[in-house]
């Protein structure tokens, strides 16, 4: 008879869950150069990331966080805060959820969406730093493109649906209602579906 596994997730995740690194103590963020917050409690996940920046070299010297969420969410913010220290703002800006999941030793598919808020909050913190320091030109907004005009579904909505488990066009429609009116966006949506499946799950 098999015995219970040591833990529901990977050992690395367990370590970051049991001993999270770099939790922001208290609520004073004045000492930090950039603050970003994403998500909300109703959805079950919210993350705040704060950074200190070496202004001469645009390198992150410290990163702390608060997270409302499950074990994967807590561990992914913890591991992210370790990953970004010493990175340039530009490099940190491009950290993907997939990298975070890899660093954690992998996440089950249905947990990937728990790790995507950390990097979003980090990007928000980096943009906040640029804004505060008169470098608005460097602020990179996530470009949003409406794909399905009828139901007003954006590329971000498609990405979220993929992260939440949609793998086929039908499943995408089930989740987003995309393409359920005129259907003209089907080709473009399918290209994006494949793209996000590849980016996040390598399939």
């Amino acid at each position: 008879m098999l015995q219970a596994g040591e833990w529901a997730y990977s050992e690395t995740l367990k370590e970051h869950f049991m001993n999270p690194k770099n939790i922001l103590q208290g609520e004073n963020t004045d000492d930090f150069d950039g603050v970003g917050m994403e998500g909300n409690l109703q959805c079950g996940d919210q993350m705040m990331v704060v950074i200190k920046v070496d202004k001469e070299h645009d390198v992150i010297t410290d990163c702390q966080w608060k997270t409302y969420g499950c074990a994967s969410a807590i561990a992914s913010t913890s591991v992210l805060s370790e990953m970004v220290k010493g990175r340039t703002l530009d490099a940190a800006f491009h950290i993907s959820p997939k990298e975070v999941a890899q660093e954690l030793g992998g996440l089950p598919d249905h947990k990937i969406h728990c790790s995507v808020l950390g990097d979003k909050a980090l990007r928000a913190a980096i943009n906040n730093y640029y804004t505060r320091n008169g470098k608005e030109d460097k602020v990179k907004q996530d470009q949003v493109k409406v794909i399905c005009q009828c139901m007003s579904i954006t590329d971000h909505d498609i990405e979220d649906a993929v992260l939440e488990g949609a793998r086929t066009y039908f499943e995408l429609q089930e989740r987003t209602k995309l393409g359920t009116v005129c259907g003209q966006c089907k080709d473009e949506a399918e290209v994006l579906l494949e793209k996000f499946k590849h980016i996040h799950f390598g399939v």
């Binding site: 959805c43 919210q46 993350m47």
Partner: protein, 401 residues
């Protein structure tokens, strides 16, 4: 790692009762097919029928009214699926009564089957519940009519423990000419259940919630009530459920109800006391909490609490590291993105549903375990809140600190 192990998840499943285990081990060599006429078969048949008498006796039914099935889910599927027959004239006289009424807090095996039936032409109406999880009898009265063939209301809710007044509901349902089903999986063996007193036409039982084995349950079908099998192709269970009987499981179920009859009366009071201590302890030691479920009309074993600003899966896993097993209504623990449909139906907001923990105690739960939990839980909640965005400046609960 923790040296103490506490199992507070009895609504999910229970360990085998030592008496059940003993009897099943003793019967392990019994392999005959109850349908066979030779001695092997007769031995198996005798034991299956003995278990049937015990189960029938436990709920005040006639033994011919008990059908052994593979699970509570199968029993519920069977009852609901009867009513597709209503529309296709399988069951004489039921053609015009093709509406089903159920509640928003049923187990998914009822809700998803109802949805499936809706796709197949059955009309399904869902009863709301109040903040404690009780259905509104006036709303039921408004829904009942000569189109309604079946009403299915669970006796005790698995997540919050709220008990419904099945006797009163059944009277109303019968007055309107419909049939009544109750999913009693969580109620049976915890509160007295007598099918004649309740008056129900169908009642669902599962073995593994009452210290019996998994993979076996029973469906009570009142004598004379129209019936159609879900699994066809055999004469077993008087043609009402095909497939060779799970003899060992059935024997285990028989022994399990026997032990329940002996232990239940004393146990309810003891568990109620434990629950009161647990409830009071949580109230005194932890801020910003919300108890879910009915304060009195509820299973003595079940306490459901929401902690603001804390996600349930994190609580569950930190408790697990301390050796305590519980469950949560959080979306994250379920693999879906939606938190508990039961809590949402009671009007609890999504955040509180994500932060809900169900403690469900059982026959071996002790005061020592409750005290251990009360020692371990407050620092865990404190620790998670300390890393949560909920209480920081600009956070949702900032003002409350």
């Amino acid at each position: 790692m923790a040296d103490m192990k506490v199992y507070f998840d009895h609504n999910a499943t229970t360990p085998l009762h030592p008496e059940v285990k003993k009897e099943m081990i003793a019967a392990m060599e019994m392999f005959g097919n109850p349908s066979s006429m030779h001695s092997y078969g007769r031995e198996a048949r005798a034991n299956v029928e003995d278990a049937r008498r015990k189960v029938a006796g436990f709920i005040g039914a006639d033994e011919r009214e008990i059908i052994f099935v593979g699970s509570g889910s199968e029993a519920n599927n069977t009852v609901l699926s009867l009513f597709v027959c209503g529309t296709s004239q399988c069951i004489a006289g039921s053609k015009m009564r093709s509406t089903i009424i159920t509640t928003k807090i049923e187990h998914p095996c009822v809700l998803e089957t109802s949805e499936c039936l809706a796709h197949r032409g059955v009309r399904v109406k869902y009863l709301d519940v109040d903040q404690y999880g009780k259905i509104d009898l006036d709303q039921l009265a408004g829904m009942l009519g000569d189109d309604v063939g079946l009403v299915s209301v669970m006796m005790a809710n698995n997540e919050i423990g709220t008990l419904q007044d099945i006797e009163a509901i059944t009277r109303m349902v019968h007055n309107s000419g419909a049939l009544m089903h109750t999913d009693a999986v969580q109620a049976i063996g915890k509160v007295p259940v007598d099918v004649r007193e309740l008056g129900v036409d169908f009642l669902t039982i599962s073995a593994h919630k009452i210290y019996g084995p998994k993979g076996v349950g029973a469906l009570f079908v009142k004598k004379g009530i129209p019936y159609c099998p879900l699994i066809r192709g055999g004469h077993q269970e008087l043609g009402r459920r095909a497939g060779t009987e799970n003899t060992l499981g059935i024997l285990g179920l028989g022994r399990a109800v026997e032990m329940r009859a002996l232990e239940m009366p004393e146990e309810e009071e003891r568990l109620l006391h434990l629950k009161q201590v647990l409830r009071k302890g949580i109230e005194e030691r932890i801020d910003d909490i919300h108890f879910n479920g009915h304060p009195t009309d509820s299973l003595a074993s079940t306490l459901n609490v929401s902690f603001t600003g804390v996600e349930g899966e994190a609580i569950l896993l930190y408790l697990d590291l301390e050796g305590i097993a519980v469950s949560t209504g959080s979306a994250c623990a379920s693999g879906s993105l939606d938190p508990s449909h039961v809590l949402l139906a009671t009007g609890v907001d999504a955040e509180l549903a994500h932060g809900s923990i169900r403690f469900s105690m059982g026959r071996e739960s002790s005061m020592q375990e409750v005290e251990y939990l009360l020692d371990v839980l407050p620092p865990i909640i404190q620790r998670i809140r300390n890393m949560s965005t909920a209480y920081i400046k600009g956070g949702l609960h900032a003002a409350s600190r």
